[in-house]
């Protein structure tokens, strides 16, 4: 089922972008978790998770976002989310994630919000 999920992490300056695609469910969430953990272990704390190609998310996927956000913020970083398709955004909103995470329309806007925070 590998074809049903894709993940790609890119470091650029002090920003790490993790692009997700396909289905993020209990079967694929561990791969997402491992990728994030690896970037964080490498000292990366400013992270954008670009969900532009993400077609499905269940609570196992949402749990990964939950598990890392506090430590990232404590370390002076953040995890911001971009590109949610309406169906996926609805799940984030149903559970109140939109109140606790910064969600942007696209990757550039999410990246820009880090830059302006640094400038401010």
């Amino acid at each position: 089922m590998a074809e049903n999920f894709s993940i790609e992490a890119t470091d650029e300056g002090d920003l790490t972008t993790v692009a997700l695609g396909g289905y993020l469910d209990a079967h694929t969430a561990p791969e997402f978790e491992a990728t994030l953990q690896e970037r964080i272990d490498a000292g990366r704390v400013r992270i954008v998770v670009d969900c532009g190609a993400l077609e499905y998310i269940s609570s196992a996927g949402l749990g990964v976002f939950m598990g890392f956000i506090e430590d990232l913020r404590d370390a002076g970083g953040d995890l911001k989310i971009s590109g949610l398709i309406p169906k996926v955004r609805e799940v984030f909103e149903l559970l109140g994630f939109d109140a606790l995470f910064e969600i942007y329309d696209d990757r550039a806007a999410a990246a820009g919000s880090f830059a302006s925070a640094a400038a401010g």
């Binding site: 089922m1 079967h27 269940s58 609570s59 939950m66 598990g67 149903l94």
Partner: protein
């Protein structure tokens, strides 16, 4: 509406590998029941969550166990039951923490049952530990 009740049943080994198959199944049944896409997505997600709980909590990731998903529909509603023969539990005693609190505790779970209740119109557990535990979920075909 005069629609003959139809029953569809899927039995699969208890593994997260099979969630895609389970979601396909639920989607197809909901499509035939005449649900529009937004409600199909809701049922799909609720059943995924219910099966994940069975895989993890009822069966402790033992792939030799079997999950049953049974779906019926008539003109009024789609009814889905997720059935396991695992340990069972007391659904009413499961604490429901706020998202803010889950995050503070670095928790990575605790959202599944809330999601199921939010997504479906009726949710009811029927627990017979070690024999047959059923989670019954109903989605109305025409809302309001």
């Amino acid at each position: 509406m005069d629609v003959l009740e139809q029953t569809f049943t899927l039995h699969v080994p208890s593994s997260t590998k099979n969630l895609v198959m389970i979601r396909d199944f639920v989607n197809r049944v909901a499509e035939q029941a005449g649900l529009e896409e937004s409600n199909r997505s809701k049922i799909e997600l609720a059943v995924d969550e219910a099966c994940c709980n069975v895989i993890e909590h009822a069966y402790g990731n033992d792939v030799s166990k079997e999950i049953t998903v049974r779906a019926t529909f008539d003109g009024d509603a789609v009814r889905i039951s997720v059935i396991d023969s695992g340990a069972g539990f007391a659904p009413d005693e499961v604490p429901q923490e706020e998202l803010r609190e889950l995050i503070r505790q670095r928790r990575t779970g605790g959202l599944g049952m809330r999601l199921i209740k939010t997504l479906m119109d009726e949710v009811r557990y029927e627990i017979e530990p070690g024999r047959r535990n059923e989670l019954h979920m109903v989605k109305k075909v025409r809302q309001g």
